[in-house]
């Protein structure tokens, strides 16, 4: 019996090892390529490790003459700034809405709920062109606002928080009301402290959404390369430096560093969060 269990564990571990190896392989294969020069990177047959590790690509990434007036470093800064502001704003706005839908009765609630929900199924491409029109009428093009504001509200995130608030016992709220708290304060005193886990889950996913966004910044940040976003810059590097591909790889490596660090810190909550989001 025991022996069988050991063998079973061994086989399962082996499967796990193989799967993990397959998943991590592309990243591992990519790492040394950031240190390859122009000829080596597209040599045929190619090798995993470069003959000599060169740091030219990283130097190029951080230099001033990377690509016209675009600087990779400033795009990292701009994207971080945009993502952080967006996370904070998006949490506030979406949690307010979720709190209202979960705990209030008011006229037009049903209509508003469906009004919000329907936006979950509108693909970005459908409203892409007209959104550009709207933000340009609002004179938002090429500003940091156009990167942050249009994507803040997410029906999905409201839905997620609402489901979570349903799980908070009403007695807590009632007790607070008896204590004379306004419902606005109840949100901060009761609901906010209890929603750290969903805040982390949604916060990270909002961050990732902003960090990885490509099409929207490409079409709205046209004449202000100081706030060009990372993915936009990498896409352009990809065509400008298709020969010296090591430069693109180096930028790629740096650009996944911040999301991966976030993931490492919050991994427990994120993994637990998948279980919650699956429940819906």
């Amino acid at each position: 019996m025991n022996k069988r269990k050991v063998i079973k564990t061994l086989i399962l571990s082996l499967i796990c090892l193989i799967v993990v190896a397959i998943i991590l392989f592309p990243i591992i294969w990519m790492l040394p390529a950031a240190f390859k020069g122009k000829v080596e990177i597209w040599a045929l047959p190619n090798t995993w490790l470069p003959k000599v590790f060169k740091f030219d690509n990283f130097e190029k990434i951080f230099s001033d003459n990377l690509m016209n007036d675009i600087s990779f470093v400033s795009s990292l800064g701009a994207t971080s700034l945009v993502s952080v502001i967006a996370v904070v704003c998006s949490l506030i706005v979406n949690m307010f809405a979720a709190y209202v839908f979960a705990n209030f009765e008011f006229r037009g609630k049903n209509f508003l709920w469906y009004y919000f929900l329907i936006t979950m199924f509108i693909p970005g491409i459908t409203i892409l062109l007209t959104s550009i029109r709207v933000v340009s009428v609002l004179k938002m093009t090429d500003t940091i606002a156009v990167l942050i504001i249009p994507g803040l509200v997410s029906a999905y995130n409201i839905f997620f928080f609402r489901q979570f608030y349903f799980g908070i016992p009403r007695s807590l709220e009632e007790a607070a009301i008896i204590d004379g708290c306004s419902r606005f304060r109840i949100f901060f005193k009761v609901f906010l402290p209890m929603s750290v886990t969903p805040m982390v889950i949604i916060g990270v996913s909002v961050f990732m959404g902003y960090w990885n966004s490509f099409m929207w910044p490409t079409l709205t940040i046209v004449n202000n390369s100081a706030i060009a976003q990372v993915m936009q810059v990498i896409r352009q590097l990809n065509s400008t430096y298709s020969g010296e591909y090591g430069v693109v790889i180096a930028a790629t490596l740096i650009s996944i560093l911040i999301p991966l660090t976030l993931f490492t810190i919050f991994q427990k909550k994120i993994i637990a969060g998948i279980a919650i989001s699956g429940l819906k």
């Binding site: 047959p45 016209n68 800064g77 029109r133 340009s136 490409t218 709205t220 065509s239 298709s242 810190i265």
Partner: protein, 459 residues
């Protein structure tokens, strides 16, 4: 616990680094007080070309008395299209934008994005435009784009050493010779090396305009744009047949050999030793001289191989770029934009010639004064190559002005025949493949004509 506190430190640190780095300001050009800002969109070309333009812009801006501050933005191909489209939607289109000869009608005249330059640019400079270029930029007697350069889109390049190794004595001038040369070269190659590079992909059909004209005396549409010529002219079948043979024998690479994967930089594949010969645009010479100058003596240049080898016929189309002025700009901006164009490309032959020098004369000048200046002042030490280019350029036809989708349909014929090539299936399969591809293209071109709003050629 330990890792936790460590990571608590790392993230803020990363952000701080990223944010502070983002704030680092870059050195700017001197700014002229109270000057009108003229915006200009440029396309990102080879490094040397971008550097040249940057240098000129700096020079222009260093003049503090002209009341004009030039603000230039470079864009990659696709980014250019996005940026222009969005700027137009915002009502802030650049004062000066670029357009290739073939697209002037559709992108500048028809859309109304550009204004006629006749009232803006001095007449003497307009008169200066060479006779072969003038019709390419003129519609309804008005000039819509001021030309900068012209370059033949198909020339033949080869590596002398690789041909020698295979015992090929001279560059092929007919298709038969090309196939024969390939059959000799193929056994001498390593894995991953191929005999000849050709444009791949339906979107590259513009690089075969020369061949199309060579064989059929025209392009995909008849003179008044009422009928497709693809189904009736045998020449299209001939080109498709060549593509079929080259692919079928494995003489051409199956995918892109240059890192960018486009015909524009196909020469890099040859310089990296991935092909022995290649079709390429004349601009490749500049790339060779700037990046692979140590190998330059190994490179040979000739007219592309044609079916009959008659070099007195058309073998290439003349491509190139012009500068248009936006209709969204107000009168003052338009006038000042015209000043900028004059300064860059017309006013001083010496200044303009600098560009051609940086290009190793791989591009042809487009104004009489610059041509005269170059032939007078410059000693060309790449005579062997530039002679070929000048010869080809002098016979070259303008690029097609019909919609892009028609070009793509023609390119699809060649791509389909290449992809489906299989010599084991015999001659009849080859004939059916080619005929089917031709028929599909012919149908779709006729469909485009019927659905179009034009009735006959619109200009």
């Amino acid at each position: 616990m330990k890792t936790r506190s460590l990571s608590k430190f790392i993230v803020p640190a990363l952000f701080v680094v990223a944010l502070t780095a983002g704030c680092k300001s870059k050195s700017k050009d001197p700014v002229e007080e109270g000057a009108t800002i003229i915006t200009m969109y440029l396309r990102n070309f080879e490094d040397w070309s971008n550097e040249y333009m940057n240098k000129r812009v700096k020079e222009f801006n260093s003049n503090m008395e002209d009341g004009i501050q030039l603000s230039v933005k470079f864009f990659e191909d696709e980014a250019y299209t996005d940026a222009f489209k969005v700027a137009k939607e915002n009502g802030s289109a650049p004062d000066i934008f670029m357009c290739s000869y073939g697209n002037i009608y559709h992108d500048v005249v028809e859309t109304g994005d550009g204004v006629p330059l006749n009232d803006l640019i001095k007449q003497e400079y307009i008169d200066d435009i060479s006779d072969n270029i003038k019709p390419m930029v003129t519609y309804n007697d008005k000039v819509y784009g001021y030309p900068q350069l012209s370059e033949p889109s198909s020339i033949f390049f080869y590596r002398k050493s690789m041909l020698n190794t295979a015992g090929v004595a001279s560059a092929p001038s007919t298709w038969a010779e090309l196939l024969e040369a390939c059959s000799k070269i193929k056994p001498t190659l390593k894995r991953g090396q191929y005999c000849v590079g050709i444009p791949i992909g339906s979107a590259l059909s513009w690089s075969t305009y020369g061949l199309q004209y060579n064989l059929t005396g025209g392009l995909a549409l008849n003179d008044d744009w009422t009928q497709s010529r693809v189904g009736t002219e045998e020449g299209f079948k001939d080109i498709a047949g060549l593509w079929y043979d080259l692919y079928g024998n494995g003489y051409v690479p199956n995918g892109a050999i240059s890192p960018k994967g486009s015909y524009n930089d196909i020469i890099e594949g040859m310089m990296m030793g991935k092909v022995a010969m290649t079709f390429a645009g004349s601009w490749s010479i500049a790339e060779i001289m700037h990046t692979y100058s140590d190998l330059a003596s190994d490179v040979g240049v000739s007219v592309i191989p044609t079916k009959d080898g008659n070099t007195s016929k058309v073998t290439a189309s003349n491509g190139g770029w012009t500068y248009a002025i936006s209709s969204q700009s107000d009168k003052e901006h338009q006038q000042k934009a015209a000043k900028v164009i004059e300064w860059l490309f017309a006013e001083s032959p010496e200044r303009t010639a600098g560009f051609f020098e940086a290009a190793y004369y791989s591009k042809a000048a487009v104004t009489n004064s610059v041509k005269a200046y170059i032939s007078e002042h410059v000693e060309d030490n790449l005579k062997e190559w530039t002679n070929v280019i000048n010869d080809v350029a002098s016979k070259a036809i303008p690029e097609a002005t019909y919609p892009w989708s028609i070009s793509v349909a023609v390119g699809t014929i060649f791509e389909t025949c290449g992809l489906n090539a299989d010599l084991n299936k015999g001659e009849s399969y080859k004939t059916t493949t080619i005929n089917n591809a031709i028929k599909t293209a012919d149908d779709s071109i006729n469909a485009i004509i019927h659905s179009s709003s034009w009735e006959g050629k619109p200009f």
